[in-house]
Amino acid sequence: MSHVDSGFCITDIAALALTVKDQCPDLELVKQKSYRTWIADHGKLVGDYPLPGTYQIKMMAALKRQDIDVHAKAAKKQVELPANLLDLEKKPWTLEEQKQMFQDPTFAKAYEKICQEVVGKDAEYVIKHKAGKGRKDSYEIGLVPHPVNRGEFVMMADFYAQGNGILEATGVGKHERKGGQDGWGAELKKSYAVCAAERKIKHEIAAGNPEFGSYQKTTLPDGRVKLEVSPKRGI
């Protein structure tokens, strides 16, 4: 099994580091290129999930660099790729489309290559168990630089068997399938978003942005967090 999910974009790595430090006692965020997934142990993805959108973009970019008309090739297999291939990030091809496309050996080889050479080896930061914590075969959460947007990182993890335990670590949030969608890391993502928002608001207040005078933080009855920003007085 292999489910390397592309979940969430991180724009403030310092906020993520603070969040991990504050609420994940068994984990640490480190600078590291590789992040462990099923591929690290078995050499390839099983292929029961489509390639994550970020890697679909990377795969198509590699083919385009070889002057391969990926749209025409996909169309021959009855798959319509978006005119702007960056749209694969938010609307990746499905597993069925992947199976159809990969009947073309050009796509099949490119897939093998990206799985062998890129997936799990392209992170800049990694969230992992601290030494002596977690299972020895625990997977890791990779922060992979966004293929286009500088300074942004896509959060990746193989959620098979709860990432061999890492998604069950305190403060992360287990993998769940709801309404046909896979999700994981809800606690970590929520706390990161709150931390990043507060850091940005405080930054704007300190910088003298007139729209950012003060703010209030409230936890709503359903657990959501509300931040209300008021402009400076007299504006």
Binding site: N149, A193, A197, E211, D222
Partner: protein, 64 residues
């Protein structure tokens, strides 16, 4: 309407930003620092009808 920016963070980290009481494009200017910091590249950027009513209250919602 009193001006202000409201940010709601869902339990799975999805963020909604709403600006109230701004005129026209003033709301997008006001929320720009937050939307970039929180969402990165917004997947949807929905301007509510008030946005187009220059002198009236304007709202903008951005959701991941």
């Amino acid at each position: 309407m009193k001006r202000g920016i409201s940010i709601i963070i869902d339990n799975d980290g999805q963020t909604t930003i709403e600006a109230k009481g701004y005129k026209g494009a003033g709301c997008t200017t006001a929320t720009a620092p937050l939307s970039k910091a929180l969402i990165g590249t917004p997947t949807s950027h929905v301007k509510l009808p008030a946005y187009y009513q220059g002198d009236h209250a304007a709202q903008v919602r951005e959701t991941e």
